[in-house]
Symmetry: C2
Subunit: 369 residues, 2 copies
């Protein structure tokens, strides 16, 4: 098979369909940053395992993998009658959905595939399979369009040569391509902006060290790795002109949940007078959630801090540990929220609400309906 | 030998003299947090190695170890004439001084021992050896008095039940006993204050996880370990009422150099309205250094971030890394500086200068003269 990995500076693609060989091709992210290896998955159980074991990760990338996986599952079906096809599809869907029960995008993508199948009722099995392939490809393509639009809007806020700090990984390997927070970086680099990117290592899971530093280096972008506690000194030393982060959920008032440590970076940016931008696909903006206080913060296992990655335990046996997965950044710390529909400035409550009243053709939130 | 490890709640003593057995007893801090092991060092080369390999660490503890080491070295001397004793002492001094050439306290302690030897000229070899033992004991005792005084002043700023955040390790095992930043915690605990201490793990060397969490847990104090990037969320959640940190150097205007990440914690404390206290022995206050801009920041090796402690490399091969060892906290972020002579409030330039004009009996800066 051939994949056009080098069609842009966002050179690494996390997920692709190899239809000819009935398989899903993914970059095995558990091997990063030490090995760049694509694996070809043709069995449903292998696709399930890849999602379960975080070989593919990042909400958009998981959704795309699940959509392709569902298509490959139904493609292999011997059924010809609609009812039998639907039965087989439901089995595939439920199986893939069980791979990572907390990943919202997984369900969103599988439900969208199911909806498409139902819309094709009355067509032949081959026509239905072809439609499901189209649907999966649309999910991937729309995600790339969202990322690219965020990148273009974001880029208008940046100047060539700027130092940019990012936290965690909201990059090309978490999405179809380009990423969210890193999309402006990749698009700028295509124009020769020569950004100097600083990546927080992002304890405890080290997504910044393992993934962000890796994918930016792979794309030939100037990237420097720091520990999370070094963000203050690099800002003070004048190395940073803008902060770009992704997000998991934006409340109606602009409060933003993202990887643990994001709110600290935002406080520092405010103190040092550096703009702090949240890159948010419309799908992450939740107008039903009033403020950050309504966002539940998941606590993760202690051993992620005390043992994981290490060759020996690094904290005393039995010590208490607090390991929240996310934190909430106050809306007053956010300079602007960059969506695929445009840049949203304060007051966020008004401006986010207006955004959803507008009719627009871009973005998956329209297409899902 | 017997050591009175449990004479106070600051139960762990990093360094002690076992004169009966002609040896220095140290807690081997390289084995923490997994093993609490005291080792007995009777050979000069073993004392040298213990300082070199960071088995004993923390400026005051290193000074005390060197002073005891110099005493044990001269105690073993067969010389009887003053000139011969001085010659043997100089050899011991130069040898121990080479163990960690950047540790200022090492030289300070060895010079003080040499001065004492010279003051004893004319006395018998036994009398000189006894005087050097007294001098080493004084260095240890004075350090404990400094720590205890900082603890007492610091404690007046804290209330029972408070949540206290600390960064790095400025605790009992870095000093004779009590520590600097942790001295108010230990003294409060002796009074039943029941503080809830949060320890930043302090990347990349993890002194918070390995040392601070260990020594507080060992003393039975309520301690919770967090990643450095979680300081913001615990402050936001109301878990922290005061921040206590140590320092490496305080400039004349109050700007303070301390372990990397300290300035970020100070910015967060300011934003969340939490007092930020620097615990500083007078010996760390440098009136010849005008501001933080005059403090040189040492850069450390890349592999401390990319490889150290890990079972495999956690960042891409060849990635750029920025690894400053310290950062400088702006004086405007510091609520007060706690010294053994009292609590210094802004304006620091005036109040630090006044402090040095006062005559006082407490603190080593007097006694060195």
């Amino acid at each position: 098979m051939s994949m056009n990995y080098r069609s842009s500076i966002a050179s690494v693609q996390a997920v692709a369909l190899d239809d000819e060989n009935n398989s899903l091709v993914i970059l095995d992210q558990t091997l990063l940053p030490n090995e760049k290896k694509y694996i070809s998955l043709s069995e449903q159980k292998d696709i399930w395992e890849a999602i379960y074991s975080l070989r593919v990760r990042g909400a958009p990338a998981i959704g795309i993998a699940a959509a392709y996986g569902a298509y490959l599952g139904i493609k292999a079906s011997k059924a010809s009658a609609y009812g039998d096809l639907l039965k087989d599809f439901t089995e595939v869907k439920n199986y893939l959905a069980s791979s990572r029960p907390t990943a919202v995008n997984l369900f969103w993508a599988l439900n969208r595939m199911e909806l498409r199948l139902k819309m094709e009722k009355g067509k032949s099995a081959d026509e239905i399979k072809s439609a499901l392939k189209d649907e999966a490809e649309s999910i991937r393509k729309e995600d790339e369009e969202v990322c690219k639009a965020i990148g273009k809007f974001g880029l208008t806020l940046l100047k060539p040569g700027w130092g940019i700090l990012t936290h965690c990984n909201a990059g090309t390997i978490a999405t179809s391509r380009y990423g969210t927070a890193l999309a402006p970086v990749y698009l700028g680099e295509e124009l020769g902006y020569n950004f100097k990117v600083f990546a927080d290592e992002t304890r405890p899971l080290l997504q910044g060290a393992r993934l962000t530093a890796w994918e930016l280096k792979e794309a030939g972008i100037d990237v420097t790795l720091i520990c999370d506690n070094m963000a203050s000194i690099i800002m003070k030393e004048g190395k940073i002109q803008a902060v770009l982060v992704g997000c998991d959920r934006v409340a109606a008032n602009g409060d933003t949940a993202n990887k643990i440590g994001t709110s600290g970076v935002a406080v520092l940016a405010k103190y040092y007078g550096i703009p702090f931008y949240v890159c948010a696909p419309m799908s992450t903006i939740d107008l039903n959630c009033n403020t950050g206080r309504d966002i539940h913060i998941e606590l993760r296992p202690d051993d992620e801090i005390t043992e994981k990655w290490y060759s020996r335990r690094m904290a005393p046996e039995g010590v208490k540990v607090y390991n929240p997965c996310f934190d909430v950044t106050d809306n007053q710390l956010i300079t602007a929220i960059i969506t695929q529909k445009g840049i949203i400035y304060p007051p966020f409550s008004d401006n986010l609400a207006s955004l959803f009243k507008e009719q627009d053709t871009l973005g998956k939130e329209k297409i899902v309906e």
